[in-house]
Each structure stands twice: as C-alpha cells, then as structure tokens.
C-alpha cells in the first residue's frame, strides 16, 4: 500500500482536530505541525508495514486480512497508551 494521498491525509488531519475539539483535549502545536505529524506517521507506517507484518506469528500473518491486522494494531496501540475512542 502506498502512502495516503493529500486528500486522505487532510481528512485524517481535520478529523483529528475535530476529535480534539470535541474532547476538549489541549493541543499545544499549530495546524502545520499537526499536519506534519500526520504525514510523518503515514510515511513511517508505509515504510514499516512489512516489518510489522513480519512481526506477526505465521498463523496470523498468513490468515488475517490487512483490515483485520490494521484493527488489531490500532487496538494494541490504543490500549498501550490508554486511549479511549
């Protein structure tokens, strides 16, 4: 999978800002810095997708769909950082 295009990255960026606003989360960076962070995470995920996939045991790696792996990854990250969505 390639990096997200500009439209998709913008959608992530705007949705993040709306979530922060709805939650009343304090954000100490400006829009440009937040957008740069979104871009950086996407680039990192693109560059390291194979590495994450290879970290899975063979059963999961070979049987789960990409979407199922993505949900598993996001759940683990959210729980690790105690984030409620």
């Amino acid at each position: 999978m390639a990096e997200l295009d500009e439209t998709a990255r913008t959608a992530v960026w705007t949705e993040l800002m709306r979530k922060y606003s709805a939650d009343g989360d304090t954000i100490g960076i400006n829009k440009a810095d937040l957008r740069a962070a979104v871009n950086a995470i996407d680039t990192y995920m693109n560059d390291n997708a194979a590495k994450i996939n290879n970290a899975l045991p063979d059963a999961a790696k070979n049987s789960l769909t990409s979407a199922q792996k993505a949900i598993m990854l996001s759940y683990v990250v959210l729980v690790r950082y105690q984030v409620e969505v």
Binding site: M17, R18, S21, G24, D25, I29, N30
Partner: protein, 163 residues
Amino acid sequence: MASGNTLLIFSPQQNEPPASNPATFDTRNAHLVLDFDAATNESAVFSSIMPRLYAGGGLTVYIHYAMSSATSGDIDWDVAFERIGDQQQDIDSDSFAAVNSVDNTTVPGTSGLVDIVNVTFTDGADMDSVAVGESFRMKVTRDATSDTATGDAELVKVEIKET
C-alpha cells in the same frame, strides 16, 4: 450618544446560519457557543436594526472567543456588513460588503480562556453604509484556511460599539 457606546450585543442563539459552511452550536460547561472549524472557513450571521443612539460614526466589532483545544498558534477573523435598509437590499440575495479582518492573533495559552479581538469599520461603504434605524446583517467568519491554531474556535459573544 455617540463614540464609545455599545450599540448591539449578539449571542450564539441569535445566529442565522448561512446556507453553506455555517458555524455550529455547541456548549462548553453550559455556555452556548458557536464552533468554527479549523480546516474550513465557517460563518455566523447576525441581524438587527442599527439603534437610534447610533450617531453615524465608524464601528468596532468585538469578537469574544475561546479555543476548544488549541493553546498555541494564531487565529484570523473576518467581519462583513450587509445593509438591508429601506428598500436597499432584495433579501432574496446576499450583498455583504468586503470583509475587514483581525489576523494573526495568538490564541490564549489556556484553552477555555476567552479572548477579545476587534475589527474596525469606518462609516460608509466599509460597513455597507448601514444607517441609523436600518436593518442589516453582519457575517463573522473564521479564516481557518489562513490561521494556524488547531481545532475549533468557540464564539461566545459579539459586541458592536460605535468607534
């Protein structure tokens, strides 16, 4: 009455949302506010009659706002007037004059603190020549595509004062 007097005060519930990209109602600790998005230029529109105490001078529009989440960055606001008057404006269409702005205001370092910024208008075309006793509309827009603060801006109140 003349310079320095408050002419009108608008609260969020007086918003007459425009057809496209309207600011949206929200509450913050039971304060009714209008949310202005961080990625799209959204607007609120307020209508009234220019009070009889108005002496024909320029106007200063004070915008009272807080940020939903941002504690850094800056914010830009645009304000424009539309004279409705006495057979001046067919209300089937819009005819707002050019906007005046207050730009690059650093937002409060604490989310929830209400900041007050102001936009000035000279008497005449700058404020679409709104005269005493005439009805008019005023549009307040967050220029989100130009400012840098993340998240929503929350409009709390707007005051119009004769400059």
